[in-house]
Every structure is written in C-alpha cells, then in structure tokens.
C-alpha cells in the first residue's frame, strides 16, 4: 500500500512539471509575454522594463521557468496591473468557490447515485426510462445554458432564489451549486445505473442470492458497495474539475470566487490574473486526481499495489 502511494506520487511529479512548463512556455516562450498585461492599452515603457526584470526575461527559457516556479511555490503569483496581489485575491476567494463546489458535489452524490440505483433496480420499467431519458437531456445542455435559464426561471420569474450571489452565503449559492453539478448528476446517474446492472448479474450476487440472503443484503451490501466505486472516483475527479468549471457559473451568478476572478481577468485583459489563476486551478485539479487515485487503491483491493 505504502509503495503504491509512493509510486503514484512519483508518477505525478513529471506531470505537474510538464503541465506547468507547458503553460509557462505558452505564455513566455511563444509570442510576446507582455501582451495582454495592461488592459486595452499598450504597455508603458517603464512597466516593460520592470516586467523583463521581474520575470527574468533575459535568461534562457528553462532558467526563467525555474525562477518562475520558485516564486509560485513561495506563494508569489505576481501583481495584477491594477496592483492587486493575485495570491492574496485567490486566497480570499477560495472559501466561496469551495462552498459552491461542496453544494455541487453533495447534489451529485445524493441525487445522482440514488437515481442510478433506482433506475437499475427498475430496469426496463417507467422509472428507468425516466432516469435514462432525463439524464440524456441534462447531459446535452451546456452548463451556461442551464445557468442562464434557471436564473431566468427560478431567480427572475418565480423569485425562489436570489438572482445573483455576490455575497456568497450558503443559501445564495444553492441555485448556482445545483447548476454547477447538473451535468455530473446526470453523468453519475448513468454511470451508477450501468455498474449496478452489471454487478446485479455477477456471479457473487447470484451466489449470495442462492444462499438465501434477502434482497436487502444482496442489493444493499453485496451489489451496492462494489457499484459505488466508479461513482465515488468520478466525484473525486469532478471536485477538481468543478473548480475550473465554476468560471461559467460564477460569471452568470456574479459570484466572487476563483472562477469569477478568472472571468474578471479575461474581461479586463489582465494576463497576470489569467495565467496565475489557470495555473492554480490546474494544480488543484492534479492534486485532486492524485488524492482520488490513492483513495481508489484503498477502496478497490483488486487494484494492484505492487
């Protein structure tokens, strides 16, 4: 087990270095690194001089990258053109985005898994068709359409939820959280349904039934525990992905989270914000994946530990 975790950790290092270098090379290697740093105007000369010095642009690319990463790791993400410290801003905004992601993940886990189980148990009946068709439809609607339409219906027309969630309280974030989780809810329902159906047909379930165990035990314990593994790992990966996907939801509901910050950076053409936030989100995504892989090894003993 320990060696499995260690191996996954070691495998992760080149990926993290590669991915950050890829982003770095796109910004500093190709094209003009100072492009898009100063809003709509051209950069003033004094800024360019300082910029070249700050990012060591006179050094070779690899050295630049090393110095840049050293700065990132010490928590220095640079300053936006208007003087905001990007790291500080990200730190202040994490709680909102995490709250949003927690709502989305809870929604996914509860509704998605339950719908999948019910559909699998009622395979070929009305409930199954309802779940299959509605999940197909929901998967097809892009998040920004779900967001805009539910803002129109639940926020403006019916007035059940606040139209925007600038404050970032739990209730404000409820509707945006459901929107953010909508795609994955449908995906998890489908995933859960197909794994359940496959496992219900498996030999060990048939054996359990043949031994005379009731449906509560064969379904509730034998089938369910094994069928949860893919759904749980998917939710784990999703937690990392949701942070990035939140850019759309946060733009629609005007939420002051990480995604909203990224959108602000795009809109005001502030490269330091865009690059810093994207790098940060990619790192979070990779770390979430790493955690899930480790967890997967614990959950599923069939995975090889050697």
């Amino acid at each position: 087990m320990g060696s499995y975790v260690l191996r996954r950790l070691l495998q992760m290092i080149p990926v993290i270095i590669g991915a950050t270098f890829l982003i770095f090379a796109m910004v500093f290697g190709i094209g003009d690194p100072a492009a898009g740093r100063c809003g709509e105007r051209a950069c003033p000369e004094a800024f360019l001089v300082q910029f070249r010095q700050e990012y060591n642009l006179d050094e070779p690319l690899v050295v630049q990258y090393g110095l840049y990463m050293a700065k990132l790791l010490s928590g220095d993400f640079g300053e936006s053109f208007s003087g905001l410290s990007v790291a500080e801003e990200l730190l202040n905004r994490w709680p909102t985005t995490i709250r949003l992601a927690v709502i989305a993940v809870c929604f996914e886990a509860l509704v998605g898994i339950a719908a999948g189980i019910l559909a699998a148990l009622r395979k070929g009946r009305f409930l199954d068709y309802l779940v299959t068709l509605s999940s197909l439809l929901i998967i097809s609607i892009p998040v920004f359409v779900v967001g805009s339409l539910s803002q129109l219906v639940f926020g403006i027309r019916l007035g059940i939820f606040p139209v925007t969630a600038t404050e970032g309280g739990w209730f404000d974030l409820l509707l945006p959280g459901l929107v953010l989780g909508s795609f994955s809810v449908a995906y998890i329902a489908r995933l859960m349904r197909s794994t359940m159906i496959e496992n219900l047909r498996s030999d060990y379930v048939r054996t359990a039934r043949a031994k005379g165990l009731g449906p509560g035990r064969t379904v509730g314990v034998h089938t369910l525990r094994n069928s949860m593994i893919p759904a749980i790992t998917y939710i784990g990966y999703d937690l990392g992905a949701l942070m990035g996907g939140a850019v759309v939801t946060e733009r629609i509901f005007n939420i002051n989270g990480i995604g909203g910050f990224l959108f602000y950076g795009i809109n005001t053409k502030d490269g330091t914000i865009v690059v810093g936030t994207v790098t940060c989100l990619v790192l979070v995504y990779l770390l979430a994946n790493l955690l899930v892989d480790v967890l997967y090894g614990v959950l599923d003993p069939r995975i090889s530990h050697d």
Partner: protein
Amino acid sequence: MTDPSGVAVSEFGTPPAGEEREGQERQQARSLWSDAWRELRRNPLFWISVVLIVVLLTMAVAPQLFTSTDPRFGDLAVARQPPSAEHLFGTTSQGYDVYARVIHGARASILVGVLTSIGTVVVGGLIGLVSGFYGGWLDALLSRVGEIFFAIPLLLAGILTFYLFPPDLEDPLILQVLTVVGVLVLFGWPSLARLMRGAVLQVKPNDYVNAARALGASAPRLIFQHILPNAVAPMIVVATLNLGTYIAVEATLAFLGIGLRSPAISWGIDISLASSIGLVRAAPHMLIFPSIFLTVTILAFIMLGDAIRDAIDPKLK
C-alpha cells in the same frame, strides 16, 4: 539446401494460409459491423439522431434553404421584439432576426464539432497505434507527453490559449474555426490515444497478427490491415460522444467572450449576448432559441454515440 526448401515451403504454404487468413478476417469484420448495423437499425434513438443530424448538416451547408433573411442585417426600429409572424423567434438588441441567426449559427458549431472529432481521431488514433504497436521507450515517451496534455482541462486550456492568442476578427470564419479546432485537438487527443493504445495491446497478441507477422508482413501492413480494423471500435464510440462535448466547449468559450467572436455567428456568441441579467428579463426569447438549438445538436450527437456503443458492445446495454 535450406534456402530452396524454405522458398518451396513458403511458395507452397503462403497462398492457402493467406487466403484463409484474409477470408477469416473478412468474415469477422463483416460479422462485427453487420451485427452492429442490424442492432442499430432497430434502435429508434439512432433514427431520431440521424434525422436531426441530417437536418443540422443541411442547415450548416445551405442556410439559405431555411431562411432568406440576412442574419447581419440589423434594424434598430424593431429591436428586442418578441416572436411574431414576421420575426418567428423575435429580434435581438441590434434588431437582428433571431431565427436567421440561429439557422446561420449551425455552421460554426457543426464545423467545430466535426472537425475536432476527426482531428482527435487522426492524431490520437495514430499516436495510440504507434505507442501500442511499438511499445518500449517510444510508448513511454508518448504516454508521458499525453499525460501532460491530459492534465490540463479542455476549458482551461481553451481559455488560456485564446486569451494569449486571440483569433483575428478580420480572418474568414473557416480560419477562426480552424484555430479553435486546432487548440481543442491539441488538448483533446490524449484520451483517444490512451483508448487506442489499450485496444491495440488487446489485439496485438492475437494469433492472426502473429501469423501475419510470421509470414513477413511489414509493420504498416500489420497495423493498418490487421490491428486497426479490430481495435478501432471503442475509439469511434468515444469520438462520436465527444463531438457533443467539443460543440459545448466551443460555445462555452464564445459565451465567455473568447474563441469565436462577433461578427462571426455562433450560438455561443448569441447566448452570451442574450444572457446579461437585464436582457434575460426583457427579451428571454434571445436566450431561449439559440439555447434550444445548441442543446438539440449536442443531444443528437450523444444519442448517436450511445446507439453506436450499444450496437457495438451489447454487454453495456
């Protein structure tokens, strides 16, 4: 002594073995794909998606068949009007006809989806074939490179690239579309390469591949005649399902104000323009109609992918 006898054996042995092998392969290929086709024909979802896709393709190729209104003609006198007989889906803030814009918007989305899917299949498929077939250091290298590109989520990659290198608004639509396609392919190929590599590793140890190798078939012949036809099915399914995802990513980028931008016409751009809070309240039709078209397009491709998957792999049904 050994030499002539070897020739004799091969002269004697090759034709029947070759014939039998080819015959067997043809039969197998026929049975897999004809089974799949028989299965597909019976699936109503398949026919619904085919009809939808044909209509959408016609829209993309010849929008004039559906509307004669110029989608770029703005009449401010009729701005933001709700649907009426004259403007079936209403008008936008600029007085554009929403119906005409929705019809003309199909082209960008369909082009991005189809071209990106083809691109990822070609790039990912080839890389997966090569790394699965040759193995060794080449496989290790290609897999690591794939992991790095796979590590960056598609949406974030799109945001970063188009922020740094925005498409030139002066360029014709097809060039702008191709930049979007290029970026999506660059970050989208690894999942297909991984899938293809896995399938190749499953097919490679089979007897018919070993037989062909023993008979002296060249590497390209082995790859394209024997391995590819038997390993391509999972990739086709996933590529069809992904097509909808690529359309959604393109529209999302346009929605965020990067990627394709006005005056290009795309559903994502129109939804973005319609979704400011004041407008959603005043003119919801601007939001609803492009949303419906976008959703139906994605739905059609996902249904097609689902149907093909069910047909190829009935176990998953």
